[in-house]
Structures are given as structure tokens and as C-alpha cells.
Symmetry: D2
Subunit: 337 residues, 4 copies
Amino acid sequence: MDVVEFRPEPHEYAWTFGGAAPVREVEPGTVLRLWCDDAFAGKIRSVTDLASASLDPRFLNPQTGPFSVRGAEPGDTLVLHLVDLTPARDWGASTLVPFFGGLTGTDRTALLHDALPELTWIYELDRARNTVTFSARRSEFSVDLPVAPMLGTVGVAPANREVRSSLTPDAFGGNMDTPEMRAGVTCYLPVNEPGAIFSVGDGHYRQGEGESCGTAVEGAMDVTLIVELVKGTAAPGWPRLESDDELITVGSSRPLEDAWRIGQKEMISWLSALHGLDPLDAYQLLTQISLSPLANVVDTNYSAVTKVSKAFLPRVDPYDGIHRDLRARATEITGSR
Amino acid sequence: MDVVEFRPEPHEYAWTFGGAAPVREVEPGTVLRLWCDDAFAGKIRSVTDLASASLDPRFLNPQTGPFSVRGAEPGDTLVLHLVDLTPARDWGASTLVPFFGGLTGTDRTALLHDALPELTWIYELDRARNTVTFSARRSEFSVDLPVAPMLGTVGVAPANREVRSSLTPDAFGGNMDTPEMRAGVTCYLPVNEPGAIFSVGDGHYRQGEGESCGTAVEGAMDVTLIVELVKGTAAPGWPRLESDDELITVGSSRPLEDAWRIGQKEMISWLSALHGLDPLDAYQLLTQISLSPLANVVDTNYSAVTKVSKAFLPRVDPYDGIHRDLRARATEITGSR
Amino acid sequence: MDVVEFRPEPHEYAWTFGGAAPVREVEPGTVLRLWCDDAFAGKIRSVTDLASASLDPRFLNPQTGPFSVRGAEPGDTLVLHLVDLTPARDWGASTLVPFFGGLTGTDRTALLHDALPELTWIYELDRARNTVTFSARRSEFSVDLPVAPMLGTVGVAPANREVRSSLTPDAFGGNMDTPEMRAGVTCYLPVNEPGAIFSVGDGHYRQGEGESCGTAVEGAMDVTLIVELVKGTAAPGWPRLESDDELITVGSSRPLEDAWRIGQKEMISWLSALHGLDPLDAYQLLTQISLSPLANVVDTNYSAVTKVSKAFLPRVDPYDGIHRDLRARATEITGSR
Amino acid sequence: MDVVEFRPEPHEYAWTFGGAAPVREVEPGTVLRLWCDDAFAGKIRSVTDLASASLDPRFLNPQTGPFSVRGAEPGDTLVLHLVDLTPARDWGASTLVPFFGGLTGTDRTALLHDALPELTWIYELDRARNTVTFSARRSEFSVDLPVAPMLGTVGVAPANREVRSSLTPDAFGGNMDTPEMRAGVTCYLPVNEPGAIFSVGDGHYRQGEGESCGTAVEGAMDVTLIVELVKGTAAPGWPRLESDDELITVGSSRPLEDAWRIGQKEMISWLSALHGLDPLDAYQLLTQISLSPLANVVDTNYSAVTKVSKAFLPRVDPYDGIHRDLRARATEITGSR
């Protein structure tokens, strides 16, 4: 397996999906060993670093990449298998950003309130125990929480010549902020531009569903992933994920019901194609088996997950069983480290 | 323990929260053994029973009750512990109701499309294997799914003299349609009217999160529950549930993000009160630990769940540990059957 | 013409649509001369009367009525022609109610902000000049604004046994808060319960579209209206209004796009029925001629208006020309005062 | 006055806001005489041209421009005064695009319905009578409607390096689709990128508020406008318009209530700055005087207008009276034609 390592310098960060020149061209089958800075570009390092003073809204969610995939054409499916996500620092950070978050007025839900107070929390990482520690700032309370590394952003260049901020989730993936984007998962994305032009970033050491206050336990991440490509016309309409046990779709829009509808319809398409189900039968089956955890209710689009256990389906190997194959390859890599 | 049994005749069904005369007055501490008809009032019995021909929109979600609780006053907290939910028929039914459901135009999302085709699915129950069988109607496909009994509706009389259809979820509980409403859970509801005036119904043999097509595996249910009352001013603003392992809140509104916000804010209030947390600290903690599964995206209000694992919290016994006490009492009951 | 006068004492106010006993039964054709208290039930009388201290949320939007209309049956159309609206006090009031309004967090858009500051504005009425005067409270600024009397609430008993707060707009009319509800307009409402059981209230001396802060220039109102009834099956799905120059529909729901969709679809139905238009042709025509002013973005449902100029339509007299007839009758009344 | 004429060839059309190279650099004060193709790039020319066969979703809303304005820097305000809009063809077109429009399922409101039938309407223009003729396609009905020329899209390059499709309205203006964008109006836009990089297009011979079916009476347009620049830090947050009689703001987002909130808050900021009003006083005043006509409920963001009559305000000349000055200059131009 080809292995490409890339650790961007700050001046090499990308800040958009689309619009940035690829940092590398890679062959399908390549293993990428990457380092991603955190969503704050490392600017929040202590509880005294507050968002309005430390952050520049033009420089959030730095992306590692983009990478161009040789041979990828519009209509193909980009396949990214997350082999390993390991925290790259010994602490993570979360902060209240003025007029950003699920329980505050925002630039869109434009209200007359003053911003909520600014506060920053630093989470110390205990690698031995695999925990991060929440310490309340205005009250006496602390608790250790399991580390559950995930990537907030995985995306390709958008369709129709658009360039979107790395803060945005949409059909091209992007800032979906779902805890489902963890090691062991294969992500399928539609290719919109030659080369796919994908990037990753926004590591979270853990995150609840919804990402209520707008920022997870944000932390730099070492990422190992395998790049693959499925040629042809079966590209998904919206991001799909596959784990050993589940099929997952992610819709992103506003209002939130539309994000959910998108993911549900994408799953109905997927189930119908996999199992020869009539769409109304798939609608009915989904009604009884769907898990519907929210991803984020804070970003420029909200994201909602639709998840189906493979246990409720006949044996099936989407995309010719590429997930199983990638899991095997991943074992080789992690075994050989 | 006082035990009251009640199996309503069809003319005794209630169709609203508020507005119906109580069928019984019960003391706090009473065990209720109830039978609930299904959401269709039993009118959908085979795949040839279609919604538009078989159902009367004025007679859906029949309620068993309402019950008046002696001593309950506005400001108190009604406590309902679900001891046991057992399917009361050997089959469940699900159907596509014209202009009702998550992926169709509706009376509110008023579009110019014709209704989706009408279809009914009947799920045979296998009590030995504890499964229901999904059989596709327009394709060759069937699968056995685990039975997971729950109640779609648990509610009290609304505030401000309102009377709401039993199809509506809101601050008074009602048709929340969340799979969290299962045996072993304690439900806390605000008392708005003297006697609380609560009812239950809408049994589901199982349901996915979101209740996509609008109807779960609907089935008549035998329900055993214990009624309790917490006097005083700590009534929740919105429905709260407690299981052995989790604290749960349910918000209901439109658009869906508001349903979620309500549940999140209610959980922040709960956590702040239980643990002396500043609300912004609780907001931060919730951001990292919240589970946010959807309940329904089909009813007159949508419902979203916020769920927190007790494992992430110091030992705490909300409402003076009443859940633990009720679990113990439940064991006595189920042990003695 | 039968003339019925009714000026309720405070203990005779109704607070709901549905659920209250009729204060009078009237024959179709009756002229009603009514007095309505303001939305605050007269509790806000000076700039020092603040909402949280002066108002009881259970006693807002007092209704004058309800009236039972002899012979009205479900499926009929209630017709209310507003002959005259005259301010009944020499001042109106508007106030900021905590967590109520378009640019604040609310009980539904549940956020963590403190409430906006409370403030009350009193508008002096100059009957000679027909103006009310806005005087800024925290800045030096005042301006005279034309009086434009309207009724915030006109509604019937809801369908399906529901009882709704007088703060709610829906298919039954209610608290639509649209400036279109002015003298000279005929309002068509579906009859859901025998007798229709309608009431009016919530006079506004003027109001912008959207009712941004939640309260208009609220003032007691002398109301003259004529009650009519159209028997048969052509009841509108949602409130319709007719003026000399315009056809108007009002949709109420959340999110706001659904309120608009409802009104648009109702207008398409109306135009199709009046002119034999195919629905898609009506959709196209509406696209080019619809006026879409908002009514309220603050109430428990939001309300949006769809308005079409009769100048763009062939001569047509909806409901057999009843509006024209009522205008003639109104002239007799106002001429004879 | 410098006069620049520009009539793009099809290969010179721009399809985005941002991301396209300027076709000309112009000085502030320049008069631009432009020709804009219609939203369909001229591909819908008869009732037999249907959207799915004739249109390429990547090539809609062709822009004339973009133009770079010498000296424009981020933080400045771009001023575009629409001097004249004259239909450039003798017919306009409107069509139903599958899964696009206000009363259909869409890519976002993702439902299981088939697309509505496709239909195209051609509107013949009568220049003498200044009308376009609606002729129903599936029914016997036709009516002449007044021509009311407007531009659907007026926008600058977005902030934060984004490039957005010319189908999108947002803070940068763009595809707002409001009938307020007519001759005689001055449009103020924030400058996000050096040169502002603005373009115009999407002429409508007329349009209702909301643009219900998704397409207005689309037609090529001859456009005369004057470009100005206000240096300094008073850039609006969102598009503002000024006519002789009104101040106007336009918000664009989803759900629709957020679009409205944005425009309302922007107007409160504007009124507060112009008149020294406290924001809560401006909120109150706006409540009683705001007109709130919808712009579009169909585009990737919905747009809502907030409009205030200058008659209700003390004499004020925003941006140092530039609108009055531009009106005078416009008279010179139109007088000299």
C-alpha cells in the first residue's frame, strides 16, 4: 500500500470545500497519515482564551488537504475509510462563541439579546484511562468522560462551482459534526469535481449529539485513512457511512426536519437499491427500525443522522463489499504500526 | 398496594387531553392494570383495510382514562411508573395515511402533490421469539424484528383551559411517540389541572426514531403502571423520564430545532438543580454527553429527546429517589403475577 | 335587521375558542354591536404597568362571545362582515412581554438568554386627526401614526373537540393578528361545531405586518358586524377574507413557510373553484400576482396572508355575491347611526 | 458621467457570486448599460420547452458581470442605483421545474412524491399597453397583467472566501427575488472582497411576492444602473434598499422566520442609527409600522422584506443623501436618452 504522510504548516491549511489547490494527488488505495489542527486553529489553549478575543471567524475549522484523487470524475463515489483517530494533544478545548450555538440567538436566528457570557473549558486528556475531564467553570463539579475520537469535517468540493466555508455541512459532506464519523467507519461521498478534492479536519475528542453549545471537545488529531474510488453512476446523493454493524446517512439543511428528511430519503434509496425494495416498503421498514440521532443543531446547516442496523437486513455488501475489504486492509496497517 | 383494573369499552374511550370526564379517581400509590386499544381504534385489521376507508380522523389514538389523582394540584408533579407493557393482540398494524407522515406533503406542509399510495402492513407477533414480522407489500422481502413495546401517548390535561387532540404532543406530554416510553421508566409530568387528569394509549410493539411514515407497529397493549404524586413547586416545565441508567427530557414543537431546544433547556434546568451546576456549565457538559434521538417528525408537534447517562453524573436521586422506590415496588408486582 | 348589543362584564369574557358556553344565540342576518376589551384585559394602563407584574398569562386576549349561530352545522361556512371598528378608549398600549415576541427567545425557541428588558408604551389617540402617537421610552423621538383599526382575533370553535387558547391562530381563525381584518372586510370561516360558536376580540388601533414585538397598539374596540351563514359543503379549509378589491387567505402554522404554503394552497383552491382553473394554472397565476404580507411571527402559530387583487380576475362573486350584499347592508347600518 | 456598456456573449456569463473574474473594472460614479439574459439562459422559448429537457441545473441565472469597483475594500458599502429596467424581449417565460418551488417537495424538503407535472407558460409582452398575458395551459383562462420589471439577482462576492451559485440569496444579496428591486431604487450591499465584484441578472417582467412556483415571468432585460461607493465602516450587515418613499431591508435564510428576523433586526439597526433610537424603541416602532412582504419561499435560502415608509420618520438622508443625488443623476440619464 502507498502511504502518504502530510502534516500541514499553518500557512498550508485550507478553509473551504472547493476553491483551494490540492496539496497532493493520491492514487486510489493510498493510505494517508495526516495531522489535523483543531477547529480553533490552536488559538484556544487555556480558560482565559475567549472566542471573541482569540478567534478570527475567517480562520476556523482548518482543513488538512485538499487531496486530489487520480481518476475521480463527477458521478463517481469517493470512499474514505477511517482507520485510526488518535488525539494529537494532551488536552482539548470548548468555548462559547458569541451568537453561535444551539441555545443562543445567532446571525440567522437574529434576536435582540446580548450575547451569552463567554467561557472556555479545557479538558485534560488521560491517555492511560482514555478519558477527558470536564471541570465546571462557575460551579464545583468535575467528571471524567470517555474519549471518543471523531472528525467533525470530511468533505469534497461542492457541485455547481460553489466554494463553501469549512464550517458548512451539505450534500458534499463537510462540517457534519456527527459522532458517527469515527475510526472503523467507511464514508461514501459523491464526486462533484475532477479529483474529488477532499479534505478532513475538526477533530473532536468527544461530542454529544447535537453539539449543543457549538463546540465539542475540540482537539488536534492524528488521522489514518485509506482512500478508495468507486467508478460509475451509483454516487450517493448525500453522505453515506458504513460500519461493521450499521448503514448510516447524513442529511444537512434547515430547518432541522429537512435535514432529517434528506437522510431518511437517502436511506430509502439505499435500502431500495440494496434489497430490491419498493420505496414505500422501504419507508415502512425504516419507520420501524430507523435510529435518528442528531448530529449538529448549530452549524450553517443542521445535520441529522439516519442509522439502520445491518442485523435487520439480509446479508449485503454495499459497493461490492468495499467496507469489509477496507477493514481488512486497516487491520494490516494498524497491526504493522 | 391498591390495584385498579380498567378495560374501556369503545364508548368509554377518550380522544383528548383535557375536556373528558375522569373514568376513575385514584389515590397516589395505586397500581393501574389497563388495556389500551391501538391508535386505529382497532379499525385496521388486514392489509386490505386502508386508512381513508377505515379510519375516521376524529377517532384516532383512543385514550384509556382519563384518571383523576386525588390531591393533585397545579404545580405538583405527576409520576407514572411503567411497570409492564405487554402486547394484547397477536398482530400489529401500520398504514400510510394520506397526507400524514414525515416524507409526504401534509395539511401543514401544504403542497400540490397527490397523496402517496395507501398501503397497510400487518405484523404477526411471535410471542415465543418475541418478534414481529415485517412483510413487504410491493416487493419480496420479510424480516423478523424484536418486539420493543412502548406507549406513544402519556399525558395530562393541558394548561390554560386547553383541550388537545390525543394526536398532539406538547408540554403536557401526550402523543410524544418516543421509544423511550417503555417498561421500567418513570415519567414526570407537570400537573396543570386539579386531579392531573391523565390518560395513556397508542401502544407500539416497536417503532423507529422519528416514526417516519406516521404509524408504528400499532397494537393494543396491556399496561401496568404505578401512579405517584410529588407535591410542591418543583414541577418540570416539560415531560421528564427516568430509567435506571438515564435522565431523559422530551420537547415538542415545530420546527424540529425548537423541539430539540426545549428538551435541551429542560435538561439544563434539571442538571443544574440536581448538581448545583451553573446553567452555562450544564450547557457545556450537555454538549459533550447529550444523546439526541428523535421521537417523532410526523405529529402536530414534532418531538425530540435529550438523554443523559447517569454514569456521567454523581449519584443523584431525582425527586427524592422515587424512581428507585418505584422500581422496587414494580418488582413486587411483577414477581407476584 | 335584528340588532343585538353585547358588552361583556369582565366575568363574562371568554378565553378560548371552543369550550366556553355561548353568551347569545343569534339568527343569520343579525347585526352585532359589541365591545371588546384589549388583549391585556385592560391591565396595562400606563408606562409603569409592566407585563410580568400586571398580566396573568391565563387571562390574555379576552373574547367577546362566543355566539352560537342558529342553524350552523359542521361543513357550513360562517360569514362575518366587519361593518365598523372604532377605538373605544382614547389610548392604546403596547408592551414587551418576557420571552414573547419575534426577536426574543421564547418558550419554544428555548434559549439561555435572560429576558429582554420590560418596557411599556402608551399611545394617545387623537380622534380629530385619527392618529396615535408613538413616544420613545429610552430615546427622544415621537411620531404620529394613522389609526388603522383591526381585530387580532376572529374565530370559531375548533374541529375534533379541541379547545384552544385565545392566543392561538389556526384553521379555525383565532389570533391571526393580520391588519387585513379591518372594517369593510367579509371573513369566511369553516363551521366545526353546531352553532359555529364564534367570538371576536384583541382590537388593535394599528399594527405592522408581523407584529414584531408581540403586541400591537392594543386597545378596546367597539365592533359592529353582520353574521351570515352559507349552508352546504363549500366550507373553506382555512380562513378566507374578501374586500371590495381583494381575495385573501390566511394560513397559520410553524415554521413560517408552512403558514404561507397553507394560505397559498387555499387560494389555489379558491381560484380554481371560482374560475375553473386547473390547479397548476392557478399555481402559475398566483406566482405572478400573489401579495404575501406576513400577519404575525410571534403567536403560538405564525400567520401569513395570501392576497390577490380582483382586478386581475374576471368578475366573480364568491359565495353568491354575499360580500357585495353585506356591503350594501353595512351602508344602511352606518348610514342610520 | 462615465458610461460603460456591456452585453455578454453566452460564454461570458457568470454563474456564481464570487469566483468569477471581473469582466470590467469601473470607477465609482459610472453608468452601466447592461443586457441580462433570462434565468433560463434563453432555453425556454415555447410552451413545449420543458425544464427537465431544456435546462441544465449548472447553467441557471446567468449573471451579467461581475464588475470590479475601483477602490472598494471590505467594510465599504457598494451602492447600486437602478435607473431603468426595460424588457429586452417581447415575451417572458415561466415553467415548473421538477422538485423546485414553494408547493412541491424539493431536494431539501425531501419527500417520496413524484415530481409535479412539467408545464411551461409563455407571456407575450404588449409594449404599448405595458402588459404581459397569462394564458392558462390546462384550462380556458387568460388575463393581461401589468409589466413590473425587476431584477431577481443583485449581489457581490460573499465573505469568507465563499463562492455561491447565482441561485442563492444571502447576506451578499444575490438571488433575493424581491419585487422591490425595481427601477428607482438604490441598493446598498456590504463589500466583502476588494473590488466588491458585483453582478446582476434574472430579470422578471413581473412577479408575485413569494415567487410561489419558483419562476417569475422570466425575461431578458436591458438594465441601466449607476455604481457608487461609500467608504468606511458603516457597511450594512444585510442588503438594504431605498426608494423615494421607503427604507427596505432583505433577510435570507431558512426557516422563513429567520429570514424575516434578519431583515427586522437589520431595520432596527438602521432606524437606531438614523434616528438615535434605542433598539427597544426601534423594535416597538417597527412593530407598528413594518410592512413585511415576502420575496421568495423557493430559493436555497428564503427571502423576506421589511419595509418602512419614510412618511413615519423624520426627514433623514441615509448615507449622506446619496439616494436623492442618484435620483437626480438618473433623471439626467433618462432625460438624455
